[in-house]
Symmetry: D2
Subunit: 356 residues, 4 copies
C-alpha cells in the first residue's frame, strides 16, 4: 500500500496522473452507489452528467463517456477519419508521441502527420502548408486538424488563436479535434479573460469535437467525448461499444463528472494546479543556474537543469521526465500538489545546487 | 440521483451489471487514494493485486487489468489471432452476440464461428467437426476455442468437461480462451467439489488465457486478462496501450481487485448471487404455469412466461430480457440481490398470475 | 508448361477460372502494348474502357478497375460499411464462404450475417427479418444487403426479384451491393427478356454498387467496381490505392475490358458458357441414377452423384467440387468449355455408371 | 487508343511504369494461355516460376506472387508486424511516401518511422539510434527495418552496406525487409562485381523478405514476395487471400515471371534501362546550366533544372516529376526507353536552353 513515508511525494511532479482522486469525485462515486440502475448509460446519473456538460458548453452537444484519454482521442479521430485519411497534429502532440499509434489502430490506418511549432503550438501557416501539399491518391488525404489545449508544453491557445487555426482548417475542408486532456487547465488559465468561456474555447472557435479530460483533473479515470458537430456523432455509440469503451456500470464514469462539475470543482482544481506550477516556475526562475524553457501558462513547468543537478534530484528520489534534448525536464502540478511538495522539492534543489 | 423509491428494485433482475459496487471494493478504492504513486501500473497496489491473482491461480501467470469485459475478451483473442483466423465459440457466446464484433475489430478481421450446443455449452464433437472443416485459404483458419464459464445460460462446465474440450482444441492446434465474465459464479458453484479450484478450472484444465470478470462480481469496472500461457503475453502491454485500455491511474483498477480478493469477498458475493438465483428458480418452478428452461447452476434463471404474465410484470415496472424465442426470459441475480427484491418480484408475479 | 495432353481437359468443369483468356482479351492486351502512357489510370485506354462501361449501363456511373473479385467485393462493401456495421448476405455467398473474411479485413471489422434461402437466393422476408432484428449497440448494425447474380447455385434473379429485395433494403436504410462475378452469365440468361438490360438488372432495380466480373468471363484478371450511387465513390480512389489495388500499368487492366466489351464478346462468351451448362444439365438429367439439384439457369450444374460414380470420375482424372452435403457436386462451364470437353466427360460418366 | 503520334514518347521519362510490357512477357502470357489448369496457383506454370526464383536466389525460399508493389511491401511488412509495431524506413521510401499508408492498413496500425539519409540511403548509425530510442509502451515498438534497393534516388547499396545495416537490425531484434521494386536495376548495376549475385544482395546479406519487382522491369503487373526467412511465411497464404491478392488465374501472374527470368531477360532489360539513364546523366551533366543531384547508379537521373528550362520542357509536352525542393526533377528510364526518346528529349532541352 502506498503510504505517508518520507518518499511519498517523490512522484508529485512526475505527471498529473500520479495524483489520486479528488474528494468531490470520491464522494460522487459513493453517492452513485445506490440501488439497481439501468446499465450502459440508460441511468439518471449519466443523463444528469451529460446535461451538465451541455450546460457547461451552452449547447446541445452529444456527449459520450469513455475510460481514458488515448481512447477519447483515437475514437474522436476515428469518427472523422477513414483509413486513408491524414491527421494533422503538432509533432509533440499526445496522438503523435504517446499513444502507441492508437489513432492508426482505431481508424484502421489513418496516419498522423507531425507538424512543427514552437512551444507546442501550431500556426495557421504550418497547417495551411500541410493541408495544401498533396500527392493525389499516393498519400493519405488530410481530413482533420488535431489541436491540444493546454499544449504538451504547458502553453495555452487564446480563443483567437484557435479560431485562426480552425478557419484555416475549414478552408481545406478539415474537421477540428481538440485534445483537451488538460482542457480544465486552459479554461482555468483563461477564466478571467472576456470571451474565454468553455464555449468560446471550443465550438464558438470552430472546434468540432473535444476530448474533455477528467482523469488529470481529479477523476479516477474518465474522459468525455463532446461532439459539438453532432453529425460526427451519428452511430458513434456503436463505435464506442465495439472498441471496448462502453461501461456496463456507466453510472460510475458519469458520477465522476458530477463530482468534478458541481460547484465548479473542475475549475478550482485546475486553477490550483496552475497556481502551484506558477509558483514553481517563479522559484525555479530565481535560480541563476536554471533556465525556464517555456512560459508557465497552465500546470507544467519546463526547465533546463545542469546534468549534475538533475542527477542530484534523482538521487534524492525525485521522479520527473526529460522532455527535450538532454537537459530539458518537465515538472507537472495537479489538483493534489501541495505547498509542502514544492517546499520539499525546492529544498532538495537548493541542497543539490549548493553542493555543485 | 437514483433513490430508494418504490421502483428502486425494478432493475434488480435485468442484469448483474445493474448492481452497484460492493462495500469491499468501495473501501479499497478509498484506501488506494493516498499520495502520489507511479502511473500506468508501476505502483505497489497494482503489483499486489497482480500477485494476489497469481496466488489465487497458484501459478506465475501474466496479469493485465483492463476496463471491461468486451475489451478483455477481444484483446485476449487478438493476442492469439491474426486477421485471417477463426474463433470457435458457442452461438450464444458474448463474443458472438453481444460485443458488436469487437473481436473482429481488435484483431483486424478474425471471424467468430458460432457453434451449436444445448444450454450454452459446447461439446468436443462439435468443436472437432468445426476445427476439421477446412477450405484451404478460402476460409478463416481456426485458431482458438473460446469457452464461457459460467455460460450465457447460467450453466457451469465441470473441470472434466473443460479438459475434454481443451484436449480437442489441442489436437487441432487451437489455443483456448475462457470468457470468465462470471467465472466467480462458476467457481462458487463448484467450490465444494474436489478438484475444482480456480487453477483446476483454468490452466490445469488446459486454458491458455482467461478473461477474469470483476465488474459483475461487484467491482465498478475492471477485468483481469490472465495469461497462463505466458508466451501469448509477449508484447501484450503494447497491445493494451494502443487499444486504449491502459489506465494512467492504474491503482484504481487494481484496488478493486484487492477489494474483491481479500477475505474471499469475490467468492462470497458470487455464492450469494448463486443462492439468490437458486431460490428464485425454486420458487418459479413451483408455479404450474411457468417452466424453467435451464437448470439453475450459477446466477441466472431462464423461465418461460406466458405472454400475459410477462406483460403484467413489465406493466408493474420490472425490467428483464427475452433470451430465446418469444417466451423465454432471463432473470439475473448479483451480489446486490436482496431477499426483499425476490419477495417483491414474486409477490408481483403471484398477483399477475392469479389475475389471468 | 501445360499442354494438350490427354488430361488437358480434366479441369474443364472444376471452375470457370480454370479457363484461360479469351482471344479478344489477348488481342486487346497486345494492342494496348504500344508506347509510353500515363500510369495509374490517366491513360486513354482506361478512359475508353470506363466510358464503355458507362454506355453499357446507360448511366454516368463511377468505375474503378481492380485485380480480382475478392477485392472488388470487399472494397465495395468497405466503401459502404464502417467497422461496426453488418452485411446481410446469403449463407452461400462468396463474401461469406470463400473470401477468408476479406470484408471484415477491408472494413476493419464489419460482420457478414449469413441468411438462408433456397437455391442461393434471398427473399424479401428473410432480409426484412434480419434487418429488423436489433440489439441496440451490442450487435453490428445492418448497413448493406449484398446479393449475388448469378447466384452461387447457378440461379438467376429476375429484375423484379432484385427490385423487391432492394425495396426491402431501402425501407431499412440499407445500401445494396451486387456481387456480379458472374453478372455476364445472368445478363446472358436474361437477354431475350424485355426489361432485362444491364441497367435494368442493376441501378434501375435499385443496386448501388456492382462488382462486375471480368475474370470468369474470359479475362486474365480484372474486375470493375461500378458505383451507380456516385456518393459512395467519394474518396474511393484513396481506398483502392491504400489497399494495393491500384495498378500502375492500369492500361492492362482496362484493355481487358475493351476486349470483353467490344462487339459484345462478354455476352457471347457468357451465353456460350450457359449453353454448355444447359446441355450438360440436360444430358446429366437423362441418367436415371443422377439427380439435378438446381435448375440450370446460368453456367453451373449441380448434380447428386452416387459415391461410386463420383469416385469413378475422380479416378479418371476429373476434378470438380462437392458443394452440398456429401453427394452434391458442382460442374462449371466457361467461355472455354468445348463440346469435346462435354463429350469426354459424359463418355467417362457413362463408362463409370455402366460399370456399377 | 494510344498511338504513334508525335507525342508518343512524352511520357518516356515520367516513370518506369509508363512503359508497356516487354516482348518476353507478352510471349509468355500467350504461351500460358493453353487449356484448363488448376486455379489459385496449383498449376505447373506457377510451380515452374516459383522454382526459377528459388534457383535465381540459390535457396529454398517461399515465393508468393501478388499484383503490385504496394501490396508486396505492405503484405511483407504485415507478415512481420503487429498493429503496435514500428517500421524503420528512409524518409523517401515508397512505404513512407507513396503508398497512402498501406503498411498501416495491412497491419492494422503499424507505424512507419521515417529516417534521414543522403541520396536515399540509410546508415547503420541512424538505424541504431532509431531502434534504441524507446518509450516503453507509449510508442510503437520497432520491429522491422525496410530498405529499398535500388533506392528512390537511383542509388545502389553494396552488399557490404546491406550487411552492415542488417547486422545493426539484428542487434535490435529487427527483421529486415527489402523493397526491391527496382531490385533488377540494382542487380544489373552490380553484376560485374564479385560477390554481388541476387543471393549475395539478399539473404546472404541478412535480408529476411524481398519484394521482388516485376512490373517496372517489364511485366504488365506482378511482384513476387520472396521469404528467405521461411518462418515469416507461415500462414502467409491466408493473408494473401484475405487481402485480395490471390489471383484465381494465377498462371498469368506466374507466366510473366517465366518471361522475365528465361534467358536473363530481367537483367538484360534492367541493364538497358541503367545504360539509358547513364547516357542521359552524362549528356545532362554536360550542360553548364544543369546540375546532377545524385550519381546515376541505376535507372534514375536527378537533375536540377532552372525554372524556365523545366517550364520550356513541359510546354513541349514532356512529363516528369519534381522530386526535391523546387528545382529538382526525376527522369526515369526503363526497358522500353529508346535512344530516340533520349534524342528527342535532349533535342528539346537544347532548344529550350538556348532560348534562355
Amino acid at each position: 500500500m502506498p503510504d505517508a513515508s518520507p518518499t511519498a511525494h517523490n512522484y508529485a511532479f512526475a505527471s498529473d496522473n500520479t495524483a489520486g482522486v479528488c474528494p468531490e469525485v470520491l464522494a460522487a462515486l459513493a453517492e452513485a452507489n445506490r440501488g439497481h440502475v439501468p446499465s450502459y448509460g440508460h441511468d439518471r446519473i449519466t443523463h444528469e452528467a451529460t446535461d451538465r456538460i451541455r450546460a457547461l458548453f451552452e449547447t446541445d452537444c452529444e456527449v459520450f463517456f469513455v475510460y481514458n484519454g488515448t481512447a477519447a482521442n483515437a475514437l474522436s479521430l476515428a469518427s472523422i477519419c477513414s483509413s486513408y485519411h491524414a491527421i494533422l497534429a503538432h509533432a509533440d502532440a499526445h496522438v503523435e508521441r504517446d499513444e502507441c499509434a492508437a489513432p492508426e489502430f482505431f481508424s484502421g490506418g489513418a496516419r498522423v502527420v507531425p507538424l512543427p511549432g514552437s512551444l507546442g503550438k501550431l500556426s495557421p501557416d504550418v497547417v495551411d502548408q500541410a493541408a495544401s501539399s498533396h500527392h493525389e491518391v499516393h498519400a493519405s488525404k488530410p481530413r482533420v486538424l488535431s489541436l491540444t489545449q493546454s499544449t504538451e508544453w504547458g502553453t495555452v491557445y487564446s480563443p483567437a488563436a484557435i479560431a485562426a487555426l480552425t478557419a484555416t482548417a475549414r478552408r481545406h475542408n478539415l474537421a477540428v479535434h481538440l485534445d483537451g486532456a488538460r482542457f480544465a487547465n486552459a479554461a482555468a488559465a483563461l477564466r478571467d479573460r472576456p470571451g474565454a468561456t468553455p464555449a468560446d474555447l471550443t465550438w464558438r472557435a470552430g472546434v468540432d469535437v473535444l476530448s474533455f479530460g477528467g482523469t488529470k483533473n481529479g477523476a479516477a479515470g474518465t474522459e468525455a467525448i463532446v461532439f459539438f458537430n453532432r453529425s460526427l456523432a451519428a452511430e458513434f455509440a456503436y463505435r464506442r461499444k465495439q472498441s471496448g469503451q462502453l461501461a456496463s456500470k456507466m453510472r460510475f464514469l458519469a458520477a465522476q463528472w458530477l463530482g468534478l462539475l458541481r460547484d465548479d470543482a473542475w475549475l478550482r482544481h485546475a486553477a490550483h494546479a496552475n497556481a502551484m506550477a506558477a509558483r514553481l516556475g517563479r522559484e525555479l526562475g530565481a535560480f541563476p543556474a536554471l533556465r525556464l524553457l517555456a512560459p508557465v501558462e497552465a500546470n507544467a513547468v519546463f526547465v533546463e537543469l545542469p546534468p549534475a543537478v538533475a542527477q542530484g534530484l534523482f538521487a534524492r528520489g525525485w521522479h520527473f521526465y526529460a522532455m527535450m534534448g538532454e537537459h530539458g525536464y518537465r515538472l507537472m502540478c495537479s489538483w493534489a500538489t501541495q505547498p509542502a511538495d514544492l517546499d520539499a522539492f525546492l529544498g532538495d534543489l537548493r541542497a543539490v545546487v549548493s553542493a555543485q
